[in-house]
């Protein structure tokens, strides 16, 4: 169907006239014939929608319910009054259900589809940017991988906007604190990125200490990335930190839309705050 036809679309008045004619028994051909040429295609599509709606009736399942089923739900044959027995029974049932199920359902945070450090800081509380970065790394990998977002892209954005050495102290630094000039000076291909499957930061093989220019060497060393991938691994994700995080990373309690259970987050945050800032 072609819906690109935008010239003088059919308005309410025209549409009501079409419906009246249809009710009066006019055929589709007759209706279309009386319309201006430019409106015929749209009218034809509207009439097709009506035809589909008419066919929906045939697709409706045949109901099998009987009045006896309704009566089974009643204890009192007198209408207009809900019997006490039913009410009491309902309350008992509700109370017992509440007893079995946890009395307080866990709260759920709905994360944005593409989480950023600002989102984390906004949704939770003033969070150290360094902590937020690590949280985001895990959240990105754990909760966003099934979305076509591109974790590498998120990490690249982070590594350019939030270089780790710009916030050595445990304080919140707005993104504006990192100048555009500084980020622009770092060639994208020199930045490390994380392989989602191996967790290991991968430094492009085309770049090493031998062939890097002075700026690139500075950019690499400022991020704790030496000319070998092995050395870079220990900088951002220290072994002990990784060991601590692994159980949390493997916690499968989310879906592709980034639902993040509060309890998991609390434990996670606690773990992070227990780790000395030097680890970042």
């Amino acid at each position: 169907m072609n819906y690109l036809h935008k010239h003088n679309p059919i308005g309410d008045v025209d549409m009501i006239r079409i419906l009246q004619r249809l009710d009066a028994g006019a055929t589709v051909v007759e209706i279309l014939k009386d319309l201006p040429e430019e409106n015929r295609e749209e009218a034809r599509e509207l009439l097709y929608v009506i035809m589909l709606l008419d066919s929906v009736r045939e697709h409706l399942p045949v109901p099998h319910e009987h009045f006896e089923h309704i009566l089974q739900r009643l204890d009192d044959p007198i209408p207009g009054r809900i019997p006490e027995k039913v009410t009491k029974h309902t309350h008992e049932k509700k109370a017992s259900a509440e007893h079995i199920v946890s009395p307080k359902a866990p709260k759920i945070f709905v994360m944005p589809h593409i989480p950023t450090v600002f989102h984390l800081q906004k949704y939770f509380f003033p969070l150290s940017t360094a902590v937020a970065v690590v949280v985001l790394l895990v959240v990105s990998r754990q909760y966003v991988t099934s979305e076509p977002i591109g974790t590498d892209a998120v990490l690249f954005e982070l590594s350019t906007e939030y270089p780790l050495d710009t916030f050595p102290d445990d304080e919140v630094i707005p993104s504006s604190a990192v100048s555009a000039q500084e980020t622009a000076s770092i060639p994208a291909e020199t930045l490390p990125h994380f392989d989602i499957l191996t967790e290991a930061p991968v430094v492009p093989t085309t770049l090493n200490a031998d062939n890097a220019n002075a700026d690139q060497k500075h950019a690499l060393s400022s991020r704790g990335v030496s000319s070998t991938p092995q050395a870079s691994r220990g900088t951002l994700f220290d072994e002990s930190l990784e060991t601590t995080l692994t159980p949390l990373i493997k916690n499968e309690s989310s879906d592709a839309y980034g639902v993040f259970p509060e309890d998991t987050f609390s434990i996670y945050l606690q773990t992070l705050t227990d780790i000395p800032i030097d680890h970042y």
């Binding site: 819906y3 419906l19 929608v49 709606l53 697709h59 409706l60 109901p63 319910e65 009045f67």
Partner: protein, 191 residues
């Protein structure tokens, strides 16, 4: 008053007095339209059964308070159904649409059947698109084009003027056309 109308008044009076058999007859008369209305508005068969039952249960429990104000009995039932559906949708925002085609799977797909399958898919698209319309638009479109009720009847059922009902239908149809067009173009091309 016609004989049919007289019978109806009598049935309602008996049901108001707690006559289960009389209410059973009213149920038999109105179950299908209410069921269809709920089905179009909900789209999940299991829940439709439950909601339709609830509508009649509520009606039975409130029968003593029913007053004939010159409107059809169905209008009263319909109001209960609308409110019940509204409550359901408020509680359950993410409705899992039941798009199982009603088709005999044993039939092999000949070119003619393939056309039928395509047509069935378009009907499912329409049903899905219906759920995105406003409450009023869903009501009017379902009652007019699926239930086949006249504008006069719908006007009485949803307590709006006939002109208003026509305008709602017109906007709803144009909205549907847009939505279906968009969804069809979003569908990946079949090889």
């Amino acid at each position: 008053m016609t004989r049919e109308e007289q019978n109806m008044v009598l049935l309602i009076q008996q049901a108001r007095g707690g006559d289960q058999e009389a209410f059973g007859k009213l149920y038999a008369l109105y179950f299908t339209p209410i069921y269809r209305y709920v089905y179009v508005r909900i789209g999940v068969k299991h829940d439709v059964d439950d909601i339709t039952q609830t509508v009649f249960l509520k009606a039975w429990q409130a029968m003593a308070r029913y007053e004939n104000q010159g409107k059809p009995f169905l209008a009263w039932l319909f109001t209960i159904a609308r409110n019940t559906v509204y409550d359901y949708r408020k509680k359950k925002r993410d409705i899992l649409f039941d798009d199982t085609p009603i088709r005999d799977e044993s039939i092999s797909l000949s070119p003619r059947n393939e056309e039928k399958e395509l047509y069935d898919e378009q009907i499912i698209l329409v049903r899905k698109a219906l759920l995105d319309l406003s409450q009023d638009q869903q009501d009017v479109i379902a009652l007019r084009f699926i239930e086949g009720r006249s504008y006069r009847e719908i006007s009485s059922l949803i307590e709006k003027s006939q002109d208003a009902v026509r305008a709602i239908a017109s906007r709803g149809l144009r909205e549907l056309r847009k939505k279906i067009g968009r969804r069809v173009s979003d569908e990946p091309e079949k090889s």
